[in-house]
Amino acid sequence: MLKIDALTKQFGQNTAVDAANITVDKPTMIGIIGRSGAGKSTLLRMVNRLSDATSGTITFEGEEITALRGAAKRDWQSRCAMIFQQFNLVPRMDVVSNVLHGTLNKRSTLATMFNLYPQSDIHRAIEILDRLGIAEQAPKRAEALSGGQQQRVAIARALMQDPKIILADEPIASLDPMNAQVVMQSLRTIHEEDGRMVIANLHTLDTARRYCDRVIGMRDGRIVFDGTPEQLTTGVARDIYGAGSDFSEAATSTEIETLDRPEVREAEAFI
């Protein structure tokens, strides 16, 4: 299905992603872990074509993604939704409009200008919001929502795209533990019920273990681990995070924002 082949991205001297190879055969929920600067965001951005690869290819269902240009590229983007750490919504616009932005690729600029979304799309947007439990927020401005709600709006926008793949770049890093849990659960549900592929960058080992079918570890731009959550032992994690022998689960957790508060532990334990 998705094949990433020797994908490399360089920023000047700095190699952010170094000859990454990933093959995915069927819709899977994949977590990418690695410490800050490992190249996780860069990798996802290349898959969505927000930035161009320096070399290497990405192929999806036989189509070479890295070669797409102009309208074809935008068409790919519409099939490959992206969710960001900071939500990246349009804050001054209402929630439904933000969700409808998922259909922009199908609409002309003029139609967007006059808000000419078909009624069926509007209704579908509400249904998606309802599925994510925030249908009542529909007429509010995005900026008026809490972080967790905003992230769910971002997921709704992604679903509105009806994508084959959903990419999520640290979707829960700005959220408190309760909201983080709701958002991850939503992604998991989407994966399971709709059979969409989900690739999420995650900062926390335990989240990756809990929600993903497959975990990829990156370090200094290279893929240093690729396996099931079960294979992700403390020793492997130590490698990924490049920590010494004093490494412990707790250590990664403390490094990671969502877990540096004790409540998180409690919240997750309580699930």
Binding site: M113, F114, Q119, I122, I126, A135, A138, P139
Partner: protein, 437 residues
């Protein structure tokens, strides 16, 4: 969410989008309606018909080219050669351009096989490729020619006047005169006029070659001849630009000097007397509202035409503008510094000098310098009305439709001048505002 709730949410969303669409349509619709109204109010359909694109082409091509006139006075038979047909551009006696040959019969080679011959007895022969030879005889007021009745549109002919426009040049014939205009690219005589010994000399010759004019050294002579060039008048142009910048400078700085103390009167913090404050503010509004244009006219009676009048007009308007801006800046000063200075027993003036001025200086300087730049542009326009500076030269050059290369020259100079002032004021702003007090 229950099914009814959901359909309610959907209805709500539908209504929301109805409303948004309405606004989405209304704004462009209002703009469009307004533009349609303007379309007719400004008579754009009529304008399209009236617009004279030929004029535009003539002007555009004239702005980067020049023409040399070869004129035969049909009464005296005298032939003159002149750049742009101007006295100052006339070839001296015995000289003529090298594309004119012959003595009895003057042969003018316009290039591209376009040849005009001035024959004796006011006869003229015009040879154009792909067109039968045209012969014209001038007799008294009328012209006798072999032109057919069915003419291409580049020939305009009556029995009194014939005009021929070709890509190589233009020929006009009337009873009294026969004239050929040969077009060349470039701004002819920009450096030296024909009567200067340096005309046609290369830069290297002037700089390093032998002395050309026995009376003067090459460089001094060349500079003086260029500076005093009677056609392009570089000296006058330089003066005019200087005058324009001077108007802007005097006006802006004078306004700032006058506005600063007045602004204290208009600022609530410093002027407790309400009546005085209101009066000062109204004065600022008045000065600004009357506008430099009208001040120019008012002042012209008292001071006559010239740069001073323009400078004063700018000064008066900007006093109003600065007064408003400065007093706003003064309202926003930080009271702590003033209090600190007051607590040492400082006298009122000292309080302003150390408590207020250091705070407002950056704002003031930034504004003053910004206005210096924009006033350079205004000074161009005001000069055109009050009679001074590059603005007057430009408007006159345009209105008398003389030489469009001159117009182009002035336009380039004005744009360069304004861009220079823009850069300069930005540079000065950076220098001054970062500086210690």
């Amino acid at each position: 969410m229950t099914a009814t709730d959901l359909s309610f949410a959907k209805e709500n969303a539908d209504r929301l989008f109805q409303r948004k669409r309405l606004i989405g349509y209304a704004i462009p619709a209002v703009i469009l309606l307004y533009l349609i109204y303007i379309f007719f109010a400004f008579d754009l359909p009529g304008l399209a018909g009236r617009a004279n694109l030929n004029n535009a082409v003539t002007l555009a091509s004239d702005s980067w080219s020049h023409k040399v006139h070869v004129t035969r006075d049909n009464r005296s038979g005298e032939i003159t050669y002149a750049v742009e047909g101007e006295r100052k551009g006339t070839y001296p006696e015995g000289q003529r351009p090298d594309w004119v040959t012959g003595d009895e019969v003057i042969i003018i080679d316009l290039g591209g096989n376009h040849i005009v011959r001035y024959l004796p007895e006011n006869r003229t022969e015009i040879e154009l490729p792909g067109f039968p030879m045209i012969e014209v005889q001038a007799e008294g007021r009328s012209l006798i020619s072999n032109l057919p009745t069915d003419l291409p549109d580049w020939i305009s002919a009556s029995n009194r006047r014939i005009g021929i426009t070709t890509p190589e040049g233009r020929i006009t014939l009337t009873g009294s005169r026969t004239e050929v205009f040969n077009y060349f690219p470039g701004w002819e005589l920009f450096w030296f006029t024909l009567d200067s010994p340096y005309h046609g000399q290369g830069l290297a010759t002037i700089l390093f070659g032998e002395q050309i004019d026995p009376a003067r050294s090459n460089i001094a002579g060349a500079i003086s001849d260029w500076w005093n060039n009677p056609m392009w008048r570089h000296k006058d142009v330089a003066w005019a630009i200087g005058e324009t910048i001077l108007m802007a400078f005097l006006g802006t700085m004078g306004a700032a000097i006058i506005a600063l103390p007045l602004a204290f009167l208009a600022a609530k913090r410093f002027s407790p007397v309400m009546v005085l404050r209101a009066a000062t503010r109204r004065l600022f509004d008045f000065l600004r509202g009357v506008d430099a244009l009208i001040w120019t006219v008012v002042l012209a009676r008292a001071f006559g035409p010239g740069p001073l009048t323009g400078a004063l007009a700018i000064l008066i308007t900007d006093t109003g503008t600065f007064g408003k801006i400065f007093s706003e800046a003064l309202e926003n000063v930080d009271g702590k510094q003033i209090e600190g200075v007051s607590s040492t027993g400082a006298k009122p003036l000292q309080r302003y000098r150390f408590g207020v001025i250091p705070q407002v200086v950056p704002v003031l300087l930034a504004q003053i310098l910004y206005f210096l730049e924009s006033n350079t542009r205004s000074a161009t326009i005001i000069g055109a009305i009050t009679g001074g500076g590059i603005g007057l030269m430009l408007t006159q050059a345009i209105q008398t439709q003389k030489d469009w290369e001159e117009v182009a020259y002035y336009i380039v100079l004005i744009v360069v001048m304004v861009m220079f002032m823009d850069w300069f004021s930005g540079w000065l702003r950076g220098k001054l505002i970062d500086r210690k007090d």
